[in-house]
């Protein structure tokens, strides 16, 4: 939980795109990195980060969305996974990749809008092949084309009551 008030600004531009509409190749999407095992010692993102489930990989669109809102979306992923009796997960960062690089990874691969109530900028990477080795190659290529950003440090908690 971020503990922040709802954002009063207008809906981001990404929210206007109907579901399943392919995104422009110039757009960038982000995938939350929630395990240290998703980045190797050389700082290279690993293909497990983009492993599809039920034929899709969830990402969030960056176009028209404030940086802080993108991080809140990533944190929301972690918050959903954490809960009583579950191992505590941490948001390590996010991997940004252009939709054009996704499309270049293999004919048939694309990124489509998949807005959600909690995240209008939600999208899916789709078009995954059934062959496991081929899928692994595409995941590896997308991971290689991604740029990792470390999650911002949580705000320090003030011990001075005067600062409230």
């Amino acid at each position: 939980m971020t503990g922040e008030a709802p954002d009063p600004r207008p809906e981001p531009a990404a929210a206007a795109t109907p579901a399943e509409t392919p995104l422009d190749h110039g757009e960038t999407v982000a995938r939350a990195v929630i395990s240290s095992r998703l980045v190797n010692k050389q700082g290279v993102l690993k293909p497990e980060l983009f492993e599809p489930k039920d034929g899709t990989v969830s990402v969030t669109r960056l176009r028209g969305v404030e940086e802080a809102a993108t991080w809140r979306s990533c944190q929301h992923v972690v918050d959903q996974l954490n809960g009583p009796g579950k191992p505590v997960r941490t948001l390590y960062g996010r991997a940004d990749v252009s939709c054009g690089r996704v499309a270049d990874s293999k004919p048939g691969m694309s990124t489509v809008a998949a807005p959600r109530s909690h995240n209008p900028a939600h999208a899916h990477i789709v078009g995954w092949p059934k062959d496991k080795a081929e899928e692994l190659l595409i995941r590896t290529a997308i991971a290689a084309a991604s740029v990792f950003s470390a999650a911002p440090a949580p705000p320090a908690v003030s011990s001075n009551p005067a600062q409230g």
Partner: protein, 165 residues
Amino acid sequence: MKPPALAMAMTTFASCVAASSARSETAHRVDLARLGIQCHLQESRSVGIQEVLDDLLALAQEAGTADWNGYGAEPLRKASLQNAEFLLRSFGLGAAHPSLGASNAGWVTMQWARSATWTLSLMITDDGLIHWAALLGSSRSSGTMPLNAAAVQELLKTINRVMKP
């Protein structure tokens, strides 16, 4: 339940002892000396890969239950873990250690990387297959092969190509 590394070490020790049991006294002494060297070498090899075997054990604990990743993943499969341990031991001393992980299907994954565009990634299934994908600069390749001696040699070649410019 014994950790895989310990189980393998015990198997190695047992095979060393068994091999030396049915010999004459003299031959037995000679064999003991020779086997002592062999066991020492095997132990050295184990020490050489102990770090990655420990990591495999840690991975088994992290991903040992259903939904370990929050996305409905299968628990790591025992046969995949055993196959992964076999593969790591087969590489022997000198091979670069991979970064370990797990797939949604409950398979061990390994990755060797010099940079983002020079990588070898693989998944080891519970039925003895290796799905692999390599980025070799501007070229890329992938495939599936059974886990055997030929696969180990092929992988070692690719690991060397990826890790040593």
